[in-house]
């Protein structure tokens, strides 16, 4: 009975799976041909040079603009969350929920800006001139301000939730924070982490394919980008599987 269900489910899903494979093969063929054709004229070289030149020259400025914008947004969200908490009567749930959501958005803005800074830092230091030096200076300043703002946000969250523990400056912050979360919050973190796992698991093959196609058009050397994507993909899946095995073992004891 169970065997029949397994076979029926497989038979039902197989045509769709083959159709997706066929679609991917056709798309890959067409896109690969187009990318290869593009790589044979001088346009791709000119585009690569223009993009690289623009990125290296603009990286410090882009870092300044994006950091200033992010810090302004973070500060505004932090202030309004603080104000909502100050006016909380201890019973009405709405102001606290709004304040917590504002702090979550602010935390996300800070994290996104750190990633952007990392990228533009790399773009700036490629140039080996004053632009690189300016890039390093802006990067250090931006990261320092973002770290302070993250600590301010965590402090505010801790004021609103006295049971929470951890300091951003502590290397074991994530571990301590998670340990101070209760069962409902840990379940939420698990659901959010699974969503992130699934998203990255879908994004990695797409990114790999995009890199392969772009390498035909723009001669950037496929090995290192492909290695980086595959390493992250591998790390994600191996970590997930090992942790799942470890957790199931502990449960069985």
């Amino acid at each position: 009975m169970e065997n029949n269900t397994v076979k029926r489910d497989n038979r039902k899903a197989l045509p769709k799976f083959f159709l997706i494979l066929l679609g991917a093969a056709v798309f890959g063929g067409v896109a690969g041909f187009a990318a290869g054709w593009m790589g044979h004229d001088n346009l791709s070289g000119a585009v690569t040079a223009a993009v690289t030149g623009w990125l290296t020259a603009m990286a410090p400025w882009v870092m300044i603009v994006t950091s200033a914008a992010s810090l302004a947004v973070i500060f505004w969200l932090y202030r309004s969350a603080k104000k909502l908490y100050a006016g909380w009567d201890g019973e009405d749930e709405m102001p606290m929920e709004q304040a917590e959501e504002k702090l979550s958005w602010a935390m996300m803005a800070a994290t996104v800006q750190v990633v952007l800074d990392m990228f533009f830092f790399a773009a700036a230091v490629v140039s080996e001139n004053m632009s690189a030096l300016a890039g390093v200076a802006v990067f250090v300043l931006s990261i320092a301000l973002l770290t302070v703002s993250q600590q301010k946000l965590v402090d505010q969250l801790r004021r609103m939730n006295p049971e929470k523990q951890g300091s951003v400056y502590d290397v074991h912050f994530n571990k301590k924070w998670l340990a101070s979360c209760d069962e409902a919050e840990q379940k939420q973190i698990g659901q959010a982490a699974y969503k992130a796992y699934h998203t990255v698991n879908v994004a990695c093959p797409f990114l790999w394919m995009t890199l392969v196609l772009l390498s035909y058009a723009f001669d950037f050397g496929l090995l290192m980008p492909a290695f980086t994507v595959c390493l992250l993909w591998l790390l994600l899946n191996v970590t997930y599987s090992l942790e799942a095995i470890r957790l199931s073992r502990r449960k069985a004891q």
Binding site: M96, E100, P162, E163, K164, E183, A184, K187
Partner: protein
């Protein structure tokens, strides 16, 4: 959600707010809020803890009802 609860009512009887109730039960204000709204079904341990705080039985606070279509 087939799990219904009267936590808000019992909390009001104790005269504590969600944050204070959370502190008594060792959970966050948000978790108390989610339980009261029916958005989160607590573990057996937490349900027992909440019942103990309110000095009633778990069944006084939580009740389980089958969905109309699934009920036998």
């Amino acid at each position: 959600m087939p799990l219904y609860n009267r936590l808000k009512e019992y909390r009001a009887r104790l005269g504590v707010n969600q944050q204070e109730m959370g502190a008594l039960a060792g959970v966050s204000r948000q978790t108390i809020s989610q339980i009261e709204r029916g958005d989160y079904s607590p573990s057996v341990t937490l349900a027992l803890k909440l019942a103990k705080i309110c000095q009633v039985s778990v069944e006084d606070i939580f009740s389980y009802e089958e969905d109309g279509n699934n009920g036998e």
